[in-house]
């Protein structure tokens, strides 16, 4: 009998597991795949390491800073700041036709860029900043406000509104067209007030730290252990049945599978309304270059681009929508020169685009391969309007699509940020079943880890 069974060995499940194992709870994490990470994972292909999910860790705060989610999660998981080996971004850009805004990890740069490009919006922008500073995480009513409405009431220039929404929606909005104002404030703080960083070794470093700590504390991790159902009796989850037929008993169960996905596992739930699922999924086109990207003038950490004045955040009607995207080069972080900089010999450019899960999954194997090539070309054609053309230097490519994301996250529609409606308290219809991760409300690597910690603290450790 376990004290807690955790479904999913992604960032949130591992973080919850560490908290429980640290306080001597008997805890087991079940992972369907033969590797950990879920959405944030990594793989090796033709002799090269690739990251999935992570472009950058958000919420960067420097060593010694005690406030903010990064400091909090390090404390809660008993890591020293240095252990995540975070190197800061060199600088990022929001690029629209004819106008761009630069930003880095010092908010004053972004503020002066907005003042310079939108001089008439100076006071309005400052008014927005105070609203974001004043926003209280715990107020569900304010969380649910429409961001577009708040922005329209505060700022007159529609172009500035679209330019603010573009990066924040890209990095953490599961809702089409609009965004919950709470989510907007959380993302604004995490990206503009705090900032981007990355370990040289990528997401695998963070995952390995988490899993090592979890196991070191006596936690059990079972890979290749997909869950078939959560068995419910008298309003309580009593056991978890694996696809192999094995049944594990647990006093409490926490699932990072997603809200609808978890409901479907419960054997007392007969109907799940699949129309509540998230719709937004991505393709990612990865290019390996024969030189560091900055040698070609590709010197930004991240570029959020959009090819017209209006930013469309919605599921594409065809396979993909390449009008907007995110260009990230993992080479462009200020890595410590003492760190083995040779570890990243290849130049890498990753470009994310919006994609439609159903269209991709309807393709035959042959069509799928062909469409990947076609989509890759379209994506690069669009992206090089906003970054120097690096296409003559590509030596290898790879691409993942919504079907890949679906396979590794188990989310309906391969929805990267899960369902639009978040369940901030993590509670379900069963008193001993909870959810954490994407559908609990926090996204990104830091958000996911904080989600696991807070669900553990609120529901799993207080008895």
């Amino acid at each position: 009998m376990y004290d807690t069974i955790i479904i999913g060995a992604g960032m949130s499940g591992l973080a919850a597991g560490i908290r429980l194992a640290y306080y001597d709870r008997r805890v087991c994490i079940l992972e369907r795949h033969n590797t950990i990470g879920g959405l944030n994972s990594f793989y090796r292909l033709r002799g090269r390491d690739y990251d999935v999910g992570l472009h950058a860790v958000t919420n960067f705060t420097p060593k010694g800073e005690k406030k903010g989610p990064l400091a909090r999660l390090l404390r809660q998981l008993r890591f020293r700041w240095d252990e995540f080996a975070l190197a800061e971004q060199v600088g990022s850009t929001i690029a629209f036709p004819g106008v761009s805004l630069q930003f880095g990890n010092d908010f004053d740069l972004f503020r002066s860029e907005v003042h310079r490009q939108f001089p008439r919006q100076k006071d309005q922008f400052e008014k927005l900043i105070s609203k974001i500073v004043d926003y209280d995480d715990l107020d569900q009513e304010i969380f649910d406000l429409s961001t577009r409405q708040v922005l329209t009431e505060t700022i007159d220039d529609p172009l500035l509104i679209e330019m603010l929404l573009c990066p924040l929606m890209w990095y953490g909005n599961g809702r089409e067209h609009d965004m919950d104002f709470g989510q907007f404030c959380i993302m604004f703080r995490s990206i503009f007030f705090e900032g981007f960083a990355r370990p040289l070794a990528g997401v695998r470093l963070i995952l390995k730290k988490l899993v090592r700590k979890f196991r070191g504390l006596g936690g059990e991790l079972k890979l290749r252990s997909g869950v078939d159902k959560i068995h419910v009796q008298d309003g309580e989850a009593v056991s978890v049945v694996l696809e192999s037929g094995e049944e594990l008993l647990g006093r409490k169960v926490v699932s990072s599978a997603g809200w609808l996905e978890t409901m479907r596992l419960c054997d007392d739930v007969s109907h799940v309304d699949s129309s509540q699922a998230g719709q937004l999924s991505f393709t990612e086109s990865v290019s390996i270059l024969d030189c560091p990207p900055r040698d070609l003038g590709v010197d930004r950490t991240i570029v959020f681009y959009n090819d017209s004045e209006k930013f469309h955040w919605q599921k594409p009607s065809g396979l993909s929508d390449v009008r907007t995207g995110v260009i990230c080069s993992p080479n462009n972080f200020a890595y410590d020169p003492d760190d083995d900089a040779q570890a990243m010999t290849d130049g890498v450019v990753r470009i994310t685009s919006l994609a439609n899960h159903d269209s991709w999954s309807a393709l035959s194997e042959q069509e799928y391969a062909l469409e990947k090539l076609r989509c890759y070309d379209d994506v690069l054609e669009s992206a090089v309007k906003f970054t120097p053309d690096f296409r003559g230097h590509i030596i290898d490519t790879d691409m993942f699509t919504p079907t890949t994301i679906r396979r590794y996250t188990g989310h309906d529609n391969g929805a990267v940020y899960g369902a639009p409606r978040k369940r901030l308290d993590g509670a379900t219809h069963l008193k001993n079943l909870f959810i954490c991760g994407t559908d609990q409300g926090f996204v990104g690597i830091i958000g996911a880890i904080v989600s696991g910690i807070s669900v553990a603290n609120q529901h799993l450790l207080r008895d």
Binding site: Y23, K66, K67, A71, R75, R78, R80, W81
Partner: protein
């Protein structure tokens, strides 16, 4: 444990909660919160660590006793005086 040993133990707990924090200047009378930037999650950890190390159960309504070093030591002294220091 003597009050001095209890204080040492609390310092040790704070060190484990916040490994990057410099505790050498910590004063006994002012609240932890004003000196250390601890939030409610961290307070839960002081309670949980005492339970983990010494099996001490502190009811939620008495958490406020742990606001400063002084009040914490005073609160724990009768509970811990017959205990040996955990290794």
């Amino acid at each position: 444990m003597t009050p001095g040993e209890i204080r040492e133990e609390i310092i040790d707990i704070l060190e484990s909660i916040a490994p990057d924090e410099d505790l050498s200047e910590l004063q006994d009378a002012p609240n932890f919160r004003d000196q250390l930037e601890l939030d409610s999650m961290d307070f839960l950890d002081i309670v949980m660590e005492l339970r983990k190390r010494y099996r001490i159960q502190i009811p939620e309504e008495e958490y406020e006793q742990l606001a400063s070093m002084q009040s914490t030591v005073a609160y724990l002294e009768p509970i811990m005086k017959d205990m040996a220091k955990a290794s």
